[in-house]
């Protein structure tokens, strides 16, 4: 009996073009599995963004629209509202990096949450700008060496990072906000369950749902895939705790 196969919502013969060991691949795979399980493929419009996450449409066999850098939640708002104007409810989610969601796009992201826009945002937090080669991002941690914080991030010179899932949880329109990780099987399964819950929040028409995925960037962290996961498990989860910060779906 076949107990595992590539999800139907992954394009046939597609080959992920992410760097070796990058968690983007696992994130996209579990999103595809959830789309299959909830039977959403034929009713979904996904919004990708700039950075490594833009490539979503190369791998997912669903309708996808690319947003300008940072604007995925605004674009998703337009998609959702437009279909609603014709009396149709489409399933709309964004797939963004932390720079996209929480730096350049924080205004659009947070206002979508504040309005309680009935969309789901998935944010890959790998604590740096990956595609451009590992610059300091809004989530780079104190002391982190990046190509634009070569002496390490420090609060006097660079300022503090953002804890995105906690901040988004504060918005009244947010019904679900959580942070998950993908560093081992247990956490991947938990992440999938959490993202599924966020998707169901939208399907129940409850409002904004958000999942931040603590992810590895082995290339820019200059670590192996294994050591990247170790760093997430032992170091990053202490700063960015894995938790559900808000769940008022059934209130």
């Amino acid at each position: 009996m076949q107990v595992y196969s590539i999800p139907n919502s992954i394009k046939k013969d597609s080959k992920f073009t992410f760097c070796k060991g990058c968690d983007h691949g696992v994130a996209i795979k579990i999103i595809a599995e959830i789309i299959d399980e909830l039977n959403l493929r034929e009713n979904t419009v996904a919004i990708s963004s700039s950075g490594c996450s833009v490539l979503l449409y190369d791998f997912l066999d669903i309708d996808c629209l690319e947003a300008p850098h940072g604007r995925a939640c605004a674009v998703a708002t337009g998609v959702k509202r437009a279909h609603r104007a014709k009396g149709e409810e489409k399933f709309v989610f964004t797939y963004q990096g932390d720079g996209d969601f929480a730096s350049i796009g924080l205004g659009e992201s947070m206002h979508s949450a504040l309005r309680g826009e009935n969309i789901t945002a998935i944010c890959i937090n790998n604590t740096n700008y990956g595609m451009t080669g590992g610059q300091m991002g809004p989530t780079s941690i104190m002391g982190q060496l990046t190509t634009t914080s070569p002496l390490g991030r420090n609060k006097e010179y660079h300022g503090f990072p953002i804890k995105t899932a906690e901040q988004i949880a504060l918005c009244e329109g947010t019904k679900f906000s959580a942070r998950v990780a993908l560093y081992d099987v247990k956490n991947i399964l938990k992440a999938k369950k959490t993202i599924k819950k966020a998707f169901e929040c939208q399907l129940k028409n409850k409002g904004f749902s958000f999942v931040e995925i603590l992810s590895s960037c082995p290339t820019n962290w200059k670590l192996s895939a294994q050591d990247s996961h170790k760093k997430i498990a032992e170091e990053l989860t202490k700063i960015y705790p894995l938790d559900i910060f808000k769940d008022t779906i059934d209130d």
Partner: protein, 356 residues
């Protein structure tokens, strides 16, 4: 028969948009276009249509981008310095081939400037402030009646060519009321089912994106866009000629400035001077060809604008004759007065028309 009523330009645009089936509007307040959003806020909510008071103009134009992917008629409106904020997404929409109608009711710049009359966004609209090789269709009304007709045309051209269209409106016109008739939309609806995103049901999945890492594919994409622009340049130039047939002096002007130009033309005609007015209605595609034809009979081409000569360069590109090309303009403030313009014209033409 539909009767004329006293209508403000901004309201006329909003009513025409509703009338031709615009189902999505996104905006942010800025004078002098705010009445468009105010009017639509109630009308669209009553009809269960999409209306979002966006967090910023960047938010608004990106909501419009998303909504346009649904294949529906989508509009955003703003003014000058805030349209500047939207330029990035116009470049995306052009590359994505998504139809968005953007109304720019102009104020004076540069920077925040003020809400004084000005036509300072000719360059911003026709050349574009976004990156890369792209074009936006630009329509320029000169009356409230034309605000209605060109709003219809904007939605039609946006969907016909799958391209953003800018309706470039003088602040004066947005704020001014004059008798006009809400006519019926004369254009057919365009079928968007071959490209819109609405879920991959009974068809392969689609994606709309501007990123293209493959050099050849990106080249092909831009070349394909330019084939479309070439078609637009052949089929869509639109203009108004006023007494141009025998004109030895042609005044060129767009928007409300052309109304003053016509009054001035009448003044000189009364004195026996063969003057005409040439008014581009499509600023892109600019009606170069017709202006070129007319210019061979003209001794003088005098361009009049409420800016420092932005359309002037297109006039120069159009005119291949030996006509003398001059410019009369003022960047900001009170509309150029008839007497000011008449004196300036007399100064220009005095060598050949010594009698006046």
């Amino acid at each position: 028969m539909i009767e004329k009523s006293l209508l403000k330009g901004n309201i006329a645009i909003a009513r025409a948009a509703l009338n031709c089936g615009c189902s999505c509007y996104f905006g942010y307040p800025i004078t002098p276009q705010t009445e468009i959003g105010e009017f639509l806020s109630l009308e669209m909510q009553k009809r269960n249509l999409a209306y979002v008071c966006a967090e910023s103009e960047i938010g608004a134009i990106n909501m419009a981008l998303g909504a346009a992917s649904s294949g529906q008629k989508v509009m955003a409106s703003s003014s000058s310095c805030a349209v500047a904020l939207m330029q990035e997404t116009l470049s995306y929409a052009a590359s994505d081939e998504l139809p968005i109608v953007l109304v720019n009711v102009m104020r004076a710049g540069p920077g925040q400037g003020y809400i004084y009359p000005s036509q300072g966004d000719y360059n911003q609209a026709t050349i574009g402030g976004g990156n890369g090789d792209y074009k936006t269709i630009v329509l320029s009304p000169s009356s409230v009646q034309e605000c209605i007709e060109l709003t219809y045309k904007s939605f039609y051209l946006a969907q016909k060519y799958r391209n953003p269209v800018i309706l470039l409106v003088d602040g004066l016109l947005g704020q001014m009321a004059e008798p006009a008739t809400i006519t019926q939309n004369p254009y057919p609806d365009i079928d968007t089912s071959s490209w819109r995103l609405d879920g991959a049901k009974d068809r392969p999945s689609r994606n709309i994106h501007s990123l293209e890492p493959n050099q050849n594919k990106l080249n092909q994409h831009v070349l394909k866009l330019y084939q479309k622009y070439q078609q637009i340049e052949q089929s869509e130039p639109d203009w108004e000629e006023y007494l141009c047939d025998d004109a030895e002096i042609i005044l060129t002007a767009f928007g409300t400035m052309a109304r003053s130009a016509k009054a001035i033309c009448n003044h000189f005609r009364e004195q026996g001077i063969k003057m005409g007015v040439f008014r581009p209605i499509t600023l892109y595609p600019f009606p170069y060809k017709r202006l070129r034809e007319l210019s061979f009979k003209a001794k003088y081409i005098i361009d009049i604008e409420m800016n420092m000569g932005q359309m002037l360069k297109d006039v120069r590109l159009g005119v291949l004759s030996n006509s003398q090309i001059s410019f009369i303009g003022k960047p900001v403030g009170d509309w150029l007065k008839k007497e000011e313009i008449i004196n300036a014209i007399k100064n220009i033409i005095k060598e050949q028309y010594a009698s006046i």
